[in-house]
């Protein structure tokens, strides 16, 4: 099973709901598509407010409508060829409106995805009955929603494996991140064979989603799956998208944080200099980040030597040991690392045997 993973973006929806200016919204849509995202969800109300029409809407956009027949018409008239219908299931039979809506979509030749938002809230046997009652309908995708973050990865794997066997429709998994398990749940769904997943950049969203960048890299490296995603500028692109939303990427954000390839501790720098895979799960270039070797409290002599060598200095072992001691003292007082210039300054003051003087 090697079909590539299709990502359904939720970022643009969040932006539209938080009234990001139209120019930014359009740029965001273009950027997301350039990255390789094939589905971008947008609530129909927001599409109307932003004046989305034929010119702006291409096949990547999927209108999220309310479960009313009239909304299918509206989406069609605006120029959407794809719709997604969030549906809150209550125990018992599928509501009639779903059949009417699917019939309408069929006549208008609009691709329809049905999201059972609260799929994780009832037993899988009940879900099987719902899916079974849809089997003669023209439906593109059934979306398994975990609206209330009820899932954990082991259960997600078992259930989604089962759901996939129940139906011929595409199955999409839509995680929410109430317990910080969304990435892992999404990856479990992928491991169970699901090839459509809903994510948002950094996981933004009201009920939070699975962070797109985490799922992409995890699927690549932990499931050996290929994708159509261009990740080589991920860090910068995700930062731009975050800016549109008025957010900043934390320096240690998994996959795209600026400092996640910064190494300081002696053991780690020593290892990374020999072979980066000793302490890195993937190379920084893959996401457009750089590796930094930081001189700080936990630095060892190997890192210090390497740093000095870049400055054209080859200290003796004794000098190095002495310098290391001073570095530790100084950074403890300064409460931050040393830049190369500060290190050079420190080295140049070694005469007289006292580095401490440069505190």
């Amino acid at each position: 099973m090697s079909m590539r993973i299709n990502y359904s973006d939720q970022t643009l929806s969040v932006a539209a709901l938080s009234h990001v200016p139209k120019t930014k919204l359009i740029l965001m849509g273009e950027l997301l598509q350039r990255i390789g995202i094939s589905t971008i969800d947008i609530p129909i109300e927001q599409a109307k407010i932003y004046g989305f029409s034929q010119g702006l809407i291409n096949n990547a956009f999927r209108a999220v409508i309310k479960p009313v027949v009239g909304d299918v018409d509206t989406a069609y008239r605006l120029g959407f060829q794809r719709i997604s219908v969030p549906y809150h299931h209550k125990t018992g039979e599928l509501s009639n409106v779903v059949y009417e809506l699917l019939e309408k979509a069929r006549r208008l030749k609009v691709d329809c995805s049905l999201e059972i938002e609260n799929a994780s809230s009832f037993p899988v046997s009940e879900l099987a009955a719902v899916i079974n009652s849809l089997k003669d309908q023209q439906l593109d995708t059934v979306i398994y929603g975990d609206r209330y973050s009820l899932m954990e990865p082991l259960r997600t794997y078992n259930i989604l494996k089962h759901v996939r066997q129940l139906t011929e429709f595409n199955v999409e998994f839509h995680a929410h991140d109430g317990y910080h398990l969304a990435t892992a749940n999404t990856l479990s769904a992928i491991k169970a064979g699901v090839r459509h997943v809903a994510t948002s950049v950094t996981g933004v969203g009201n009920a939070k989603h699975a962070p797109f960048e985490e799922v992409v890299l995890a699927a690549r490296h932990l499931c050996s799956l290929s994708d159509n995603i261009a990740a080589q500028d991920f860090a910068a692109e995700c930062a731009i998208i975050a800016t549109y939303l008025g957010k900043e990427i934390p320096v240690d954000k998994a996959i795209i944080g600026k400092n996640i390839f910064a190494h300081e501790s002696g053991l780690h720098v020593h290892g990374v200099m020999k072979n980066p895979s000793i302490y890195e799960a993937f190379p920084p270039e893959e996401v457009g980040l750089s590796r930094f070797l930081i001189i700080g409290k936990h630095s060892g002599s190997a890192a210090l030597q390497a740093a000095l060598s870049k400055l054209g200095i080859e200290p003796s072992t004794a000098e190095l040991q002495k310098l290391l001691k001073s570095v530790r003292t100084i950074v403890s007082h300064k409460k931050s690392h040393l830049t190369p210039y500060e290190l050079l300054h420190l080295y140049n003051r070694r005469e007289g045997g006292s580095y401490e003087a440069s505190q």
């Binding site: 954990e152 932990l222 390839f261 895979s277 000793i278 390497a306 530790r328 300064k334 931050s336």
Partner: protein, 282 residues
């Protein structure tokens, strides 16, 4: 309140050790003391306090932490080296964590050693620590990429010298929950010691991996406040605490206000700017 039928999980806080190892982070003495005291107030049973072998100043700071009237057990981090053990004992620790590499990548590529030598050094370090009457635990670095049989050999050696538990470190955060579950379940059935899962967040799954390890039978887990740690950080205490509780595992009832305090404290103490052109590029 401990719900019926739920299993107790002990958390080992390593904010002051692995957390401070985040590049560019240095805690002041006052910050260390406040963090340690608040962790204790929160009811954490184990606090990994630091690395005495780092130097005289570090030992002085650690002595101040040791002198606090805490309920938590304070643990010193060590390599399997005589000088590390000596430093920890000189500092006044009575609980030593001794860490050894366990994957071939780390043993041969990083250290040019053999698995046999690593085991021998571990036994010597354990013997030494025990001869001073210390409690010990053992850490298997990069266990996620190690041969499980070698992990078990390390565990056997640790058990022989009376270690209280063994740490399974997903050092580069390269596991996902299904593989964690499989790996830990296998080890739990064969390992003579309780297993502590130590997760990193490189793919954003440290919390999920920790939960999976507990589901597979790990009795302990390491966390840091706000997930502070090397690269993308460690398993985040608050997240792990809530996820474990949500899925039926009991840690200890921790006041939300104290958690908020800890988060605030560590956020401030661990501030570092985004690195850029000023730093060394390898």
């Amino acid at each position: 309140m401990k719900p019926a039928n739920s299993r107790v999980v002990d958390l080992v806080d390593t904010t002051l050790r692995d957390g401070e190892q985040a590049a560019g982070v240095v805690f002041s003495l006052e910050e260390k003391i406040t963090i340690a005291a608040t962790l204790d107030q929160a009811g954490l049973r184990y606090i990994e306090a630091g690395i005495p072998a780092m130097g005289a100043e570090e030992r002085e700071a650690l002595r101040s932490i040791l002198s606090l009237p805490l309920k938590a057990e304070l643990i010193a981090w060590n390599r399997a080296k005589r000088e590390d053990i000596e430093a920890s004992i000189a500092c006044g620790f009575s609980f030593l964590h001794i860490s050894v590499p366990s994957s071939n990548l780390h043993i041969s590529n990083k250290l040019n050693k053999t698995p046999e030598i690593v085991l021998k050094e571990l036994e010597e370090a354990l013997q030494m620590a025990r001869s001073f009457g210390c409690d010990v635990s053992v850490g298997a670095e990069d266990a996620s990429r190690a041969d499980p049989e070698y992990f078990l050999q390390i565990a056997e050696a640790a058990a022989k010298w009376g270690a209280r538990h063994i740490r399974f470190a997903d050092t580069v955060g390269c596991l996902e929950p299904l593989s964690v579950f499989r790996a830990i379940r296998y080890l739990v059935s064969r390992c003579p010691l309780p297993i502590e899962f130590h997760g990193h967040n490189d793919f954003g799954m440290a919390t999920a991996n920790t939960l999976a390890a507990v589901q597979a039978g790990a009795l302990m887990a390491s966390t840091t406040i706000r997930g502070l740690g090397e690269r993308a950080g460690n398993a985040n205490f608050q997240q792990v605490y809530h996820a474990l509780e949500r899925f039926g595992y009991y840690t200890s009832s921790i006041d939300n206000e104290i958690i908020a305090n800890l988060n605030k404290l560590v956020k401030k103490a661990a501030y570092r700017p985004p690195f850029g052109k000023m730093e060394y590029i390898h």
